[in-house]
């Protein structure tokens, strides 16, 4: 078994890291620079930085803030929020990103994905999918930070994204996000069952067991979590120790 990646996720609004429930009801939880530095030092495998209102307000990322957050972080740094052009990706990379996560713009303009992949390589382009359950085994893709319906079947959309060349998938469960009741395993499994590229599970982690379930049950290649780390439910070190006891390998420090 390969090493599973543990990825703290920073949801950014203005100058702050925020966290909501079902992607709504946002609360300020900290300073992005301090949190990123703390997670880097604790042994996070990557960091996710998502501006959760950029798309909604048709704004660009705050590249100055991004640069200050990525400054002393020497692990992979994935950035998302309002990415619409090759120029945006260039700016994000120049501000310290290694990969960009794209959701809203790609849904409205799928042709952007192969353009981005061609220019920056598949390893740079993460398809971020926010999915809300409609009925058993069916999920709808949402945009704008989980606010807008698209009418698209999330799984069909992911298949299309793969055809267009994306290198990684981040799947967020809107129903589970912020609830701390565990990842939506059926959703994660529905994606990992066919995706030939790495899948990052996101949304709902509230306990150590949830992470184990996402890996063993959901077959996730990587797990993203925010509440558990922001609220100090446990540290990355504690999580690694627990997973090792459960015979799940992570990067050794």
């Amino acid at each position: 078994m390969k090493n599973i990646r543990l990825i703290p996720r920073l949801d950014i609004k203005g100058p702050n890291v925020v966290k909501g429930i079902h992607t709504e009801g946002l609360r300020v939880v900290g300073n992005p620079r301090e949190l990123a530095q703390r997670y880097y030092e604790e042994g996070a495998d990557e960091i996710l930085y998502m501006d959760i209102v950029a798309s909604l307000y048709q704004r660009n990322l705050d590249f100055e803030l991004l640069k200050s957050v990525s400054d002393n972080i020497f692990i992979p740094f994935t950035v998302g929020g309002g990415v619409r052009t090759v120029h945006d990706i260039n700016n994000a990379l120049r501000a310290g990103a290694d990969k960009v996560a794209i959701n809203t713009y790609a849904i409205h303009h799928p042709e952007f994905l192969p353009e981005a992949v061609k220019k920056f390589g598949a390893q740079c382009i993460v398809l971020s999918v926010e999915a809300k359950k409609i009925r058993e085994g069916k999920w709808e893709a949402y945009t704008d930070g989980g606010r807008e319906k698209t009418g698209l079947d999330a799984i069909e959309w992911i298949r299309k994204g793969l055809d267009l060349g994306i290198g990684e998938i981040m799947i967020t469960s809107i129903d589970h996000d912020g609830t701390k009741k565990g990842y939506e395993l059926e959703l994660v499994k529905a994606v990992t069952s066919f995706a030939p590229v790495p899948v990052i599970a996101h949304g709902g982690a509230g306990a150590l067991e949830h992470i184990r379930e996402a890996i063993l049950g959901g077959q996730a290649d990587a797990v993203a979590a925010s509440s558990i780390f922001h609220y100090n439910l446990f540290s990355i070190g504690q999580l690694k120790k627990y997973l090792l006891e459960e015979k799940i390998k992570t990067r050794t420090l």
Binding site: N3, R5, D45, F74, I75
Partner: protein, 216 residues
């Protein structure tokens, strides 16, 4: 008079040089990012970064007239560090989307991962441990000096370094049950398949070691 830049990062149009530059600057102020053959030739140490496909990398060097520049740099025995695609280009041939000539500084080829015993996904994206092919003393006086055996470093790749001579293998790693070459070395020329600039404190130490290989 401006001091001669000690270290140059070759900017040949493939990939993100930001974090690499940031990491190097922790150890030297005399850093130049350049695509100019003249400037590059005058440096004392060279880093060849890059992500992407082999052919794109070679043509990126080619259109800037940098192929001979880098080869001559290697002949002059000044230290070179290739990273990821930059490491792959040091070898003779690449087999990504066809067969292409590399810089041929280290004899060998760049081939796709075979089907993995544990059926893991390709590309390999994530952290794997590196280890020496025989004993750890083989890392003394190299860029891996004082790096503990089995340190974890960050990989993103579908193709692997396959040097012809086993003596050119500096470090090995394992992915999906398959052992592959994680770093190559020939004299002062080094190539890391992984990204030291993304490998946390261990990677930063490797960059520091490389900077220290460059004579003052």
């Amino acid at each position: 008079m401006r001091a001669t830049p000690k270290l140059v990062i070759v900017d040949y149009g493939v990939g993100n040089l930001q974090s690499l530059g940031k990491a190097v600057k922790l150890f030297t102020d005399q850093l130049l990012v350049s695509e100019d053959p003249q400037e590059i030739s005058q440096a004392d140490g060279l880093i060849l970064p890059g992500v992407g496909a082999f052919e794109a990398g070679m043509s990126g060097l080619g259109i800037r007239g940098l192929i001979q520049t880098v080869k001559k740099f290697a002949e002059s025995r000044k230290p070179i560090l290739g990273i990821c695609l930059g490491a792959q280009l040091l070898l003779s041939k690449g087999f990504e989307f066809g067969e292409f000539q590399g810089l041929d500084i280290i004899a060998g080829k760049v081939v796709r991962f075979p089907e993995l015993p544990e059926r893991e996904k390709i590309p390999n994206i994530g952290w794997s441990q590196i280890y020496p092919k025989s004993d750890a003393s083989s890392w003394n006086e190299t860029v891996l000096k004082n790096i503990p055996e089995k340190s974890s470093v960050y990989f993103v790749h579908s193709y692997i370094l396959a040097p012809d001579a086993r003596e050119n293998i500096l470090a090995l790693a394992n992915y999906g049950g398959y052992e592959f070459c994680a770093a190559v070395r020939q004299g002062n020329v080094y190539g890391c398949q992984f990204h030291p600039e993304k490998s946390g404190p261990v990677g930063i130490k490797i960059i520091e070691n490389f900077v220290n290989l460059i004579p003052n």
